[in-house]
């Protein structure tokens, strides 16, 4: 087994374990920390896929900013143990099998090598990853310039919306 396989399986196991911990943890703060674990291992997988810029953005924006916001709100609201309610019988007898079915079916269809994936596995690995960030920035500021500018408006609106929502009415 070669190094990329070992790295892939190591980080995949960490990511799945983190996701499992997110489901099983009863304290929201434990869920948040396990989600940070998932995000960091996903950043490592992005590096493995040759997407350095996305890996850096993942660490800075997701594991940094977004999760700090989550932890801040958990602390602010003093969110404690989750109350367990009895699962309704529909959830127990239909929900769990359907969830497992969705997961297995997604995995099945994605594991089947489609027409493109099989070819790409052979051909794409010669990609020069050293220039990918430069090429990405050229793409972002030329072909996708208008969507990029639109996201700044989106962020502005989101900040205004958060401000209006969180403001206490006097």
């Amino acid at each position: 087994m070669s190094l990329p396989f070992i790295l892939f399986f190591a980080f995949a196991v960490i990511a799945v374990a983190g996701a499992l911990l997110l489901i099983l943890a009863r304290e929201p703060i434990h869920s948040a920390l396990s989600l940070v674990l998932v995000m960091i291992s996903l950043a490592a997988l992005y590096l493995l896929l040759g997407a350095e810029f996305i890996a850096a953005v993942q660490i800075i924006v997701y594991a940094g900013a977004v999760m700090v916001l989550f932890v801040f709100v958990i602390m602010l609201l003093n969110a404690g143990m989750e109350e367990r309610t009895n699962w309704s019988s529909i959830a127990k007898y239909a929900g769990v099998p359907l969830g497992v079915f969705l997961l297995l079916e997604l995995a099945h269809w994605m594991a089947r090598a489609g027409p493109g994936v099989g070819i790409a596995n052979g051909a794409a690995r010669a990609a020069n990853t050293a220039v990918s960030t430069r090429a990405l920035s050229a793409l972002l500021f030329q072909k996708y310039l208008f969507p990029f500018e639109a996201t700044s408006i989106l962020i502005l609106i989101a900040v205004l919306g958060a401000l209006v929502l969180a403001k206490r009415d006097e």
Binding site: I23, L35, Y46, V66, T85, A107, A111, Y144, I155, V159
Partner: protein
């Protein structure tokens, strides 16, 4: 050659998405449900990056960038909504936020 096949990444993405969907359905804490949505967005991002690699096209990475930006905006607005809910109803449990429930 010893490069991990793209389908491995896609299966991991499917597993993470499925676990996020299960968490959205089964968790009762509204903040944890938000975190599960973030987990699903992350799973989709992994599929985008894997496909960008498979087709050797960088457009997928640009889409991941936009997904991350939208997720950040969504987290800001969503957590403001959570704070408003707690101010009004003094609970984080979604079972108790039942004004529109029959």
């Amino acid at each position: 050659m010893s490069v991990v096949p793209i389908s491995y990444y896609l299966v991991l993405s499917a597993v993470l998405f499925g676990m996020g969907a299960v968490a959205v359905v089964f968790k009762r804490n509204i903040i944890t449900i938000f975190m599960a949505i973030e987990l699903m967005l992350n799973a989709v991002n992994l599929a985008f990056v894997a496909f960008a690699r498979a087709w050797n096209q960088l457009d997928g990475l640009v889409f991941v960038f936009f997904v991350i930006v939208v997720a950040a905006a969504e987290a800001a607005v969503g957590l403001a909504i959570v704070i408003t809910i707690v101010q009004n109803r003094q609970t984080l449990n979604v079972e108790r936020v039942n004004l529109l429930k029959l």
